[in-house]
Symmetry: C2
Subunit: 384 residues, 2 copies
Amino acid sequence: MSQDPKHIALLGSTGSIGRNCLSVIHNLPDKFKVSYLTTNTNIELLQNQITHFHPRGVVVLDEAKAAAVQALVGHSVEVLAGREGLLEIVRRDDVDLVINSIVGFAGLKPTVEAIKHRKHIALANKETLVVAGELVISLVREYGVHLVPIDSEHSAILQCLVGEERNSASRIILTASGGPLLNTPQESFGSITVEQALNHPNWKMGNKITIDSATLMNKGLEVIEARWLFGLPIERIDVVIHPQSIIHSMVEFADGSIKAQLGMPDMKLPIQYALTYPDRYPMSGSRVDFPKLQSMTFFAPDRNKFRCLQLAYDAMAMGGTAPAIMNAANEIAVQAFLEKKIPFLRIPELIEQALAHQANHVSPDLEHTFQSDRKTREYVRTLL
Amino acid sequence: MSQDPKHIALLGSTGSIGRNCLSVIHNLPDKFKVSYLTTNTNIELLQNQITHFHPRGVVVLDEAKAAAVQALVGHSVEVLAGREGLLEIVRRDDVDLVINSIVGFAGLKPTVEAIKHRKHIALANKETLVVAGELVISLVREYGVHLVPIDSEHSAILQCLVGEERNSASRIILTASGGPLLNTPQESFGSITVEQALNHPNWKMGNKITIDSATLMNKGLEVIEARWLFGLPIERIDVVIHPQSIIHSMVEFADGSIKAQLGMPDMKLPIQYALTYPDRYPMSGSRVDFPKLQSMTFFAPDRNKFRCLQLAYDAMAMGGTAPAIMNAANEIAVQAFLEKKIPFLRIPELIEQALAHQANHVSPDLEHTFQSDRKTREYVRTLL
C-alpha cells in the first residue's frame, strides 16, 4: 500500500463496524488520516465524528439531511448527498483505502468503483462478494489492489494463510457462534420474536446481521465470501458451531495440519488487522485466558433447523445469479421480519420461493446481477 | 536449503522419532535420500532399515555390535563405530540435512559439529537447546543454517509464526497433555510405579520422554527450548494443560490475536514439516473432526504437584549452566527411576539438590557446559 498516513474513505461510518473502525484509527494517528465519512441518516453521530476526525468531506445519503449538515458545518467540510456521493468520493485522488462497511447489496457499487480507481479495499460489506464474488475478485486482480476482509471469520482465515502457499490449503473451517437461537428448540421457531432474534450472546452488531446470525444465513453468506476470497470450492468449506466464539475460523492444509486464529470477540481486532495488513500493531484489550475459559465446544450445525445455511450452500451450487437472488430475498425478508410483518420461519420460505421462481443467469455480468437483485426484491415484496 | 533430493544423516534412526522420520522419508522419495543411519544397539532394526533405505553408511555406538553389522552387510555399506562416528558423518559433504533424534545430552555434540559444517538441522533432541541454547543459536546465525524443531509444540509455534514479524509475537502458550499422571492425586505420588508413569494417554514415545511427561519436566525442557528457538523471555512463555493434545501450541501477537496449530497427535506431521519447511506436502492420516471431538479443555498446571515444571522455570531464571545441571540431574534420576532404584518423588528432589549444590557458570562456553553435565552426573550418582 502507499506511504503512511493512509488516506481513508470510511463508508458507513455511523454503523457498528464504522464506529469500531474510527476507534482503531483514533489509536493509530500516524498511520491513518480520515478523508471522508458517510452515513445514511445518523447526522448527529456524523457531526460528532466530523469534530473528532476532521474529514475533508462527508456523504449523507438522505438528501434533506445533507443540506442540514452543510448548514451546520459551513464551508470547512464538503457535504455530498445521495448514493452518487459515495461513488464520487471513492474515485478521488485523496483516498488510498476505502473501508466499505455499508450494509447490504448497496455496498456493491462503491466497491467496484473503488477498485476501478485503484483503491485498496477493507471490506465489511458481505454482499459485495456474495452477489458478485467472481466479478469483484477478477477486478481486484486486474487493477492490482488489495481486498482485505474485516469479518472476524475471514480475517482469521487470512491470518492463518499468511506465509503459507495458497494451494496448500485444503479445507476452510468457518466457526459459528450459533447465534441467539442456538439452544431454542426447533418446535418454538414458529413463534420467535424480533427481540429474541436480536439477543446475540457474543457479538454486539447491527440489526440486519444479528437476524442473519439467528437464521445462520450470516454463516451461509460467509461460506460464499470465503469461496471467492480464498479460491476453495464450497465442498471444502465447512461450518462448525463453536458457541464460545474464541476460535474465529481455521484452515486445514494438505499435510493435515490445521491453523486457527483465536481472540476475544472484539471487532476492533480484525478491523485493525485489515487496516494494517500484513503488519500488526499493539492493541490493548482483554486477552484470552485459557484456564479461565476452561473449555471450547464444537458441534455440527443443524441444517434442518437452520434452513438458511443450507439455502446458501444450495444457491452457491446453482451458481450464476442464484446467490444474488438469495441475498435479495433475504434482505427483504429480514427487513419484513424486523418490521414484524412476517414470522421468523417465513424468512427461509421466501428465499426458497425466490430461488425457485427467479431466472438464474448462468454467467452474469454486473448488469445481470443488479437486475436479479431488483427483480427478486419486487417479487418477494409481492409475497409479503 | 539445497536442491532435491536432500541427503540426510538420521541420528537415532531406530528410536521412536527415527522410525517416524523414515516413514515420512519413505513417502517422499523424490525429496530425500538417506545417506546415513545410526543406532545405539538395535542392530536388528538397523539391518532392516539398511535393506529398505540403502544408506551409504551407518554408525553403531556399541563397538562390538558395529563389527557384527559390518560382517553382515559386507562392503556395500560403510560401518562406523562409537560416538566419534556420529561426529564423522555429520561433517561429510554427502549430507545436507542432519536429523538429530538422539535422546539426552549426548545429542549436543553432533548438533554443534553439524552446524559448524554448515548442515541444516531438524532437531528432535531437546537437550541441545536446553543445556546450550544460547551458544547453539549463535552458531546457527554464524554459519547461516536452518535449525527447525521436530517437537510437536515447537513445530506448532513455528507454523504460527510463518509470515509474521517475529517481534510482533508477545506470548507463547505451550500446551501440555498433562501426561499419564494428570488425574492421579498428589497424595498418591509417593507410590507411582514405572508402569503407571509410562502409560501416556495420547502420545506413543520413548521411555525417557514418557517419564519426563509424567513429571512435566518435558514441558519444562520445552519452555527452555522455546526461549532459545523463538527469542522470547520465559516470563512470556506460558504452559496450559490441554488433555486432548489437539492444539499443539499457540502464539499471541501484539494486537491480542492468537494463532494455534492443531492436528491429530501424530509425530509424522511435525517431522514432515521440519523436513520440508517452509513448504507443505500432502500427507495421509486421520484429520481432526471437530463435531466428533466435541470439546477441548484447558487448565493451569499444578506446579506443586509437578515440581519439575517449576524447577525448569527456576533453572532458566538462574541462567548460566543451571539448565545443564538440571538436565543432567534429571537424566540420571529418570534412569534410576526406570531401573526402580528410586521412587518417583525422588526425581524432583535430586534435581533440586543438584541445583543447590553444583556451581553455576554464569557465562558458560561449551566446555563449561560439558563440565557441569559431567560433574552433576557424578554428584547425583552419589545420592542414589
